[in-house]
Every structure is written in C-alpha cells, then in structure tokens.
C-alpha cells in the first residue's frame, strides 16, 4: 500500500475511534460485570426476564445522598404467586449492592420504598425472585448532580 494522504487520514481516524471506544467501554464494563455477577449469585444462574417488576426512581436526583427509590412487583402475594425477595443494585457505586427486601404472605403486597445513595449518574437495577423460581428485573437511569458516598 502506498502511503497517500487519504490512506494516512483513514488510518488515524480509525486509530482515534479505537482509542475512544476502548476508553469508554473499559471501565463501564468492569462495573457491569460486578453487578452482573451479583445478579447471577442472587438468582442462582437464572437470567432475569422482563416485566412484573416496577422500579420507581426520580429521573434527576439533585442530591445523590438521599434518592427515594420504590420497587413493586405485580403479584397476588398468596399461595404460589409470591415474591420471595427483591434485590436492588446501583451499577455505578463503589459497591453495587444496595439492599435486599424479603417478603412473606404477611406482607400483603410486594412493595418497598427506601432512600439510597448514588455516587454518580447511573443505572439502578431491581431484580425480583418469585417463589416458583422465576426472576424478573427492571432498570432505571438516575441522573445525579451531587454525588453521595463521600468523595
């Protein structure tokens, strides 16, 4: 290949794109891997399905130190149609685990609200495990203007 002006230009654009992609994908993947592993630990290897779970969180949180988060699952909470537990992750926190809620028939409804810390703008993930072994999840992105978790 002759080194023409056009070839050189193409090469450098390609290299720049590669560097950009590498820089962006690297750290994001690391966090997701940790969360991914934690989800699998929780479900016992079952990949979560869509639906049933509703995660409610503000689109924009002005203060990451206290972000109201609510999870609910569409369930009769009786007999076999029972939610056993819901686990919540914050994908971009130093430690993605947030909380695990455990329900019983006495709960009456699979609904829990609490306040959490978010270090930065990130995805919040809720995974629910039903009594029959099925697993469902919901994800919501929360934009954080002031981070929690010290820093």
């Amino acid at each position: 290949m002759q080194l023409t002006r056009r070839n050189v230009l193409g090469l450098s654009v390609g290299a720049a794109a590669f560097t950009l992609a590498g820089g962006r994908i690297g750290p994001a993947n690391a966090a997701t891997d940790a969360t991914q592993k934690a989800i699998m630990d929780f479900t016992g290897g079952t990949a979560p399905g869509e639906g049933k779970v509703t995660l409610t969180a503000p689109e924009i949180a002005e203060n990451g130190n206290t972000v109201p988060v609510s999870v609910s699952v569409d369930s009769a909470m009786a007999g076999d149609d029972l939610v056993e537990s819901i686990i919540v992750f914050a994908d971009g926190n130093p430690n993605p685990a947030v909380a695990t809620f455990h329900f019983t028939e006495m709960s009456g409804a699979a609904l829990a609200t609490t306040r959490i810390r978010l270090a930065k703008t990130q995805d919040v993930i809720a995974v629910a495990k039903m009594k029959d072994g099925s697993v469902f999840m919901d994800t919501k992105q929360v934009k954080v203007t002031i981070g929690g978790c010290g820093g």
Binding site: N95, A99, F101, T104, G108, A109, R117, G151
Partner: protein, 107 residues
Amino acid sequence: MASKPRIKVPKSASAGEVITIKTLISHEMESGQRKDKDGNPIPRQIINKFTCSFEGQTVFECDLDPAISSNPYFEFNAKVAQSGTFKFTWVDDDGSVYEAEAPIEVN
C-alpha cells in the same frame, strides 16, 4: 449511635386489609467510603438488618448495604387478620439492636 426509632402504623384496620407501615431510625450509616480530614478512611458502621414481625411471624425483612441513605427509611405493607403488635428490629454493625413496637386493633 442511633436514636429512638419513629414508626407509623395505623391504629386500626379491618381484617384482611393491607396496611402501610413507615419506619425511620436516626443513624449516620457510615459507608466506609468516606475519609476524615487527615485522609484516613472512616470505618464502615451501618445498620445491616431490619425486621418487622407481627405476633412472632415475619412480615418484612431487609438486608442493608452501605448504599442506604443515613437515617434509613422504609415503607412497606402488611396484611393483618387479628389484633396484635408489630415488632421492629434494627441490627447495627457493632452488634447493638434497636427495637420498637406498635399495636394495631383489627375489627
């Protein structure tokens, strides 16, 4: 570390009704991620477990991680069939246990 918990439970309900319970306890929930003025990490100290039971039966439980905000707040539901007392328990990292109770009349 923690001060007296605050509980909101309806005074009465009809049998089989699903009621809403709100709880809050004052606690710093030191995440272990922060540093003091000299740059030394402040050790983690959080409440790691919250339980609500009704007459000996578990209603709702939560395992807490440092990402729960200070002064942990919980809102959840309970289905009551007869009158009785709700018992709430918070367990601190240092082993302390904070407890609270709230009665409900079912008619």
